[in-house]
């Protein structure tokens, strides 16, 4: 067993693990002087940098008999995902002062890192579980209102159903091929013998569940609304993104055909339309973002039937742009002492007059999410639909784009509220400055903005490295 390889190739994971251990120790010894979030941030940054550094070496590490494969693409994805966790940690400060949040988030990140690099269903399963288990607790953690428990419970049950479904698929796959390697999936997808195709479908259904694709989406709005802002941000971006990265790993570089292909044409489309329509009438920001994320799951899954060579690039680009925009919006969302109020879109009414910077940043986020040029959300969508059309699926691409048109309205609605509506200020209302997101969150917002701007100006630079 090449231990040195394991040591090096898994440096990011080790780093996270070290962070977890340190945090536990701090907790155990009751050290209060060091603020745990800082440690988590440092650890995540280091892990991200390490991942990028490893990816720059352009080597392929096969670990544990090929159960984990670290190649440049995987490491890059890992680095990106970990980097995107930094804003989440930054914006958690105002909500969580204890160490649990950081600890749970690091555990979840550890799971995500493993899941992304798995080439075997055993670590994949464990990685995904490890990623979601702490999140059940995270949803509950900022218990500001009783609905948080409901949200956590719904998430847990549906996620459990997803796990069971995926395992059933894995089991059938295993029965058909005798192997737990994810490599079996790609051949099964082509309509291989016996249970294979059903297995592939079950596995993807599980991914649909985890990524909230219609009709497996219903948990997402409830869970996001019940969760606190950083957790909703985390779930809607990183968790979803990793599911998609896993999906890309599974289909490898095979063209999608057969029944799975049909599902991958229709369900994302339904998702796009459903999510975008349902978002129109929402009055809760998080719920709206949840429906928007359902639609975005649709776009993301359209990367899978696209031409194989560009799948992973399209997904990663999309995940990064989508996450950056989403996190940006969450980061600068004005505060309110009551969580429901903070969530209320009415709270954004006339925001530009109170806090122009926040309003502009949220507007940028919304426009990027809507996929309007020149913001990177457009390039990402272009990437996805370009691949879809290149794969010959023009009809679905057109329908998908039309579906994305439906979404423009509700993003604009947010902007309308912020810029074009006035609000009487109640007498006992706190000063504007007190409503402004705290410094750390703002820093998170600026970070995301920087990512967005870079992607706006030089998307080619980024795409070239995918």
């Amino acid at each position: 067993m090449p231990d040195r390889d394991t040591l090096i190739a898994m440096l990011p994971e080790h780093c996270l693990l070290a962070g977890i251990v340190v945090l536990i120790l701090l907790e155990v010894f009751g050290v209060r002087r060091v603020w745990p979030t800082w440690i988590a941030i440092v650890v995540t940054c280091v892990a991200s940098v390490l991942a990028f550094w490893l990816s720059s070496m352009q080597e392929v590490w096969q670990l544990f008999d090929g159960q984990l494969v670290m190649n440049a693409g995987v490491l890059q994805a890992k680095g990106a995902v970990l980097a995107l966790a930094v804003p989440v940690l930054l914006m958690s400060k105002s909500e969580f002062s204890d160490g649990e949040f950081s600890l749970l988030l690091l555990s979840s990140l550890y799971g995500l890192s493993i899941a992304v690099s798995s080439q075997n269903f055993l670590p994949l399963f464990l990685g995904l579980e490890l990623a979601s288990l702490p999140v059940y607790a995270l949803v509950l953690l900022a218990y500001r209102r009783p609905q948080s428990a409901e949200a956590a419970f719904k998430y847990l049950v549906l996620s459990g159903a997803a796990t069971a479904t995926m395992l059933m698929g894995v089991s059938l796959l295993y029965g058909a091929s005798g192997s737990m390697s994810t490599g079996t999936f790609a051949s099964a997808m082509q309509g291989g013998a016996g249970y294979a195709q059903a297995a592939a479908i079950l596995v993807f259904v599980a991914l649909f569940l985890k990524a909230a694709v219609v009709p497996f989406h219903a948990w997402a709005p409830d869970a996001y609304e019940g969760a606190s802002v950083p957790v909703a941000a985390y779930m809607s971006t990183l968790m979803k993104g990793v599911v998609l990265l896993v999906a890309v790993t599974l289909v490898a570089s095979e063209p999608v055909t057969g029944a799975l292909a049909d599902l991958l044409y229709v369900l994302p489309l339904v998702s796009i339309v459903w999510g975008n329509l349902a978002a129109i009438r929402q009055n809760s920001f998080r719920r709206m973002i949840a429906y928007s994320s359902i639609a975005h799951a649709g776009y993301l899954f359209y990367a899978i039937p696209g031409s194989p060579s560009a799948r992973s690039g399209a997904v990663l680009f999309y995940v990064v742009t989508y996450a950056a925009a989403n996190l940006l919006a969450f980061a600068v969302l004005p505060r309110h002492e009551r969580d429901e109020k903070r969530d209320d879109l009415e709270n954004l009414r006339g925001l530009y007059r109170r806090d122009p910077v926040a309003a502009v940043l949220i507007a940028i986020a919304m426009l990027s999410l809507a996929g309007l040029p020149p913001l990177p959300g457009f390039v990402a969508k272009f990437y996805i639909f370009r691949n879809l059309i290149a794969a010959g699926q023009t009809t679905y691409a057109v329908l998908g784009l039309l579906g994305s048109y439906l979404g423009i309205y509700f993003y604009l609605r947010v902007i309308v509220r912020m810029f074009m509506a006035e609000r009487e200020v109640a007498a006992n209302e706190p000063l504007w400055a007190e409503q402004r997101a705290d410094g750390m969150s703002q820093a998170a917002g600026w970070l995301c903005l920087a990512v967005i701007l870079v992607l706006t100006l030089v998307p080619g630079w980024f795409i070239a490295r995918l």
């Binding site: 309007l372 040029p373 604009l412 902007i415 074009m420």
Partner: protein, 511 residues
Amino acid sequence: MGDAALLNLMLWLPLVGVGLLLVARGNDLRTRWLTLGVMVAQLVLTAWLYQRFDDTAVALQFSTDAPWIPQWGVQYLVGLDGFNVLLVALTALLGPLVVLGAFRSIDRDVTLFHVMLLLLQFAMMGALLAQDLFLFYVFWEAMLIPMFLIIGIWGGSRRVYATLKFFLFTAFGSILMLAAVIYLVVSLKASGGVSSFAFTDLYQSRLPLDTQSLLLGAFALSFAIKVPMFPLHTWLPDAHVEAPTAGSVILAGVLLKMGTYGFMKLGFPLFPDAARMYTPVLMTLAVVSIVYGACLALVQDDIKKIIAYSSISHLGYVMLGLLSLELIGIQGAIIQMVSHGLVAAGLFLLVGMVYERCHTRQLDEYGGLARLIPVFSVFFMIFTLASVGLPLTSGFTGEFFALLGAFRAAWPAHVAGNSGPLVLAVVAASGVVLGALYMLRFALTFLFGPTKAPHQPLADLSGRERLVLGVLAVAVFALGLFPAGVLRKTEAAARSYQALVLTPRLPGGAP
């Protein structure tokens, strides 16, 4: 510094201006002057480039070509050619005028307003200068957002409805165009192996007729909404009515021209066979737009709506000229674009000035302004007559050539047994009567008769306002009296447009 660098500087200057405004925010007056300075600097650069523009060359001039997303063949490819040179000049000219026009009327969120103006200017310039379809699309869409905010924040009472309508209308067209863009590029690569968005490469594409038709449909929808052509025009009156003066001016002055520019630069040349096949349909729509817009302008009680509907009518002539595929008609269409930009801008500025004073747009609340504010009325008369297409003004030059082109194209068809185009041309020619009808009704009620105004005494135009209108009036007359120099600049482009659209480009045909 080379001219190409100057062109880039000209393009990016507004963005620099945005940076300056953000640094220097807080003082409204300083913001206004800074913006004005930036716009004037852009105008000066444009003027320099305009006079350096070589009208004998067909090729792109002062071009910059840098990879942007090399994996897809997307380039940062900008430059001047005969297609865009006039519209670039128009845009640059309107820039400072808009700022000046809004000097007093915008007193809320001044920094944001000027940032939006600059962003809009940047996007419009970019869309005009872009020679790469992806880049074009990005700029094309980027125009929406500042305009959306300008209407939505500083607009009238129904501004949110109007601005959403504007945005959603326009975005609908763009979405389908996006699909078509992708399809076009993908199929270009599939057939020829070139992965490029450059217009010149895309002009080489060979697609079967039905594909061309579908793609043209998508492009045409987007452009026709922008123009706007009947029956896709209903956003325009609302947007114009609710928009602040600056918004209306830019909207009518430049934004609408993007639609016709798109047809000329992209829609027809990219899919020539389909374009020729659907010419009767499009031409009918153009003529219907002329008549329909004029009829509606006739019965409006809102002074801004009259001008808004008149835009629909006027841009019908542009489409008519473009579709004639006659050199004269094409040139007329180009002139008509510029002319409408100047005239509609002038009229909206005038209406805005009076609105600033009286705060109502109801036509019947006014009367006898010629007695109250004579200088205003003189300018109003000038622009009204230019709008009517009276000789010596730019409106005549454009309409005349466009109609002449349409006739020259229609007659051979008529002789060959197809009188449809001729009937359309005749109807279009009689549109000049309708044009006079609604504009003079406007002028009659507005300027003449017993004096009546909601706010008296009315102050006549200030020096700033006179300057703004004077510049426009001079341009209107210059284009009416001496169009030769301007026409020379665009002739090569008009020819290449004509050649592109007239040459069949179906697959398998002779190259």
